[in-house]
């Protein structure tokens, strides 16, 4: 059985790092709808991949979080991207593949992927 003992070493290592990223600053916010509609449509792997890629690719000033029902259940999984200025982009019918594209094109390069936008359905 793996025990919690390793956590002590992890904590000490973290304390040695300067400026551990905090999530509550005013950067870009990526929000995934995680109510019954979203979960049933596949929101869990979408949230997982977005969070993993933002961490792996070390994208600064982007936080990933979850929310409840956005009210467009038929378009779930839905991912909303809020710019630091508060503008909202809504991507619909998301999956892991589309999420990778959003990360590369939108979150890294700043180009909105228009074909996945809600208005384009």
């Amino acid at each position: 059985m793996k025990s919690l003992a390793e956590l002590k070493a992890i904590k000490e290592k973290m304390q040695g790092q300067v400026g551990v990223r905090s999530n509550d600053h005013a950067g870009t916010r990526v929000v995934v709808g995680m109510a019954t509609c979203g979960i049933a449509a596949g929101a869990r792997p979408v949230l997982q991949i977005l969070s993993r890629l933002v961490q792996e690719k070390n994208i600064q000033d982007v936080s990933v979080s979850q929310t409840g029902c956005i009210g467009l259940c038929q378009y779930e999984p839905i991912v909303e991207v809020y710019s630091p200025e508060g503008e909202k982009i809504t991507y619909i019918n998301m999956n892991e593949e589309k999420s990778r594209e959003i990360v590369d094109k939108h979150l890294i390069r700043g180009n909105i992927v228009t074909e996945y936008l809600v208005g384009n359905k």
Partner: protein, 184 residues
């Protein structure tokens, strides 16, 4: 839902919304009695007797963005269609207890699926809430208690990248030791 772990995530979101401080999740598999039991207990705001009566009705929901609430009805149906049972008890101001028993080998039982992903998601995205997760197969079991983890971290964030990796490994390694060669 294609996995019971997705139902569990969905039902636990109700506990999050009920402003629980501690959410207890348990998956207990008993091969002798051929059952898979899921328990979700919280110390959130609870429900009135009237609300409990309505909670298994798909046309009842507390939300305002839509008028149907399928989370509890889905879970209840998933359990009852395997010859199992479903129960929910609650007290206003005290908390809510959900218990679902599934026929383990019943043909209509939905696979448990990626239960670790469900636990991770709950722990990492609700860092202000404590979780006590227990996974049991016959006589073997393990627990993950975020209160213990937070004590050891002494204020360092539980959703820091290195801690997340550790918790993922902790869940997966211990799960595979407990369930051995079985797939549930």
């Amino acid at each position: 839902m294609t996995e019971l772990s997705l139902n569990i995530l969905d039902i636990a979101q109700n506990s999050v919304k009920a402003e629980a401080k501690l959410i207890e999740l348990a998956v207990e598999i008993n091969t002798a009695s051929d059952t898979l039991t899921v328990l979700i207990n919280d110390d959130g705001c609870g429900m009135s007797a009237e609300q409990i009566e309505k909670v298994t009705d798909p046309f009842f929901t507390t939300r305002t963005t839509r008028s149907v609430g399928l989370g509890v009805p889905f879970f209840k149906d998933a359990a009852e269609s395997t010859g199992g049972e479903f129960g929910i008890t609650s007290e206003k101001g005290k908390g809510t207890q959900v218990k679902a028993v599934f026929g383990l080998s019943h043909i209509d039982r939905v696979p448990l699926g990626d239960i670790n992903a469900t636990v991770e998601m709950l722990v990492f995205y609700n860092t202000h809430i404590d979780f006590l997760y227990r996974y049991k197969v016959d006589d073997a079991e393990f627990t993950l208690d975020t209160r213990e983890i937070k004590d050891l971290l002494e204020g360092a964030p539980i959703d820091a990248p290195d801690v997340k990796v550790f918790i993922s490994e902790f869940l997966r390694e211990n799960e595979s030791e407990v369930k051995k060669e079985h797939i549930f």
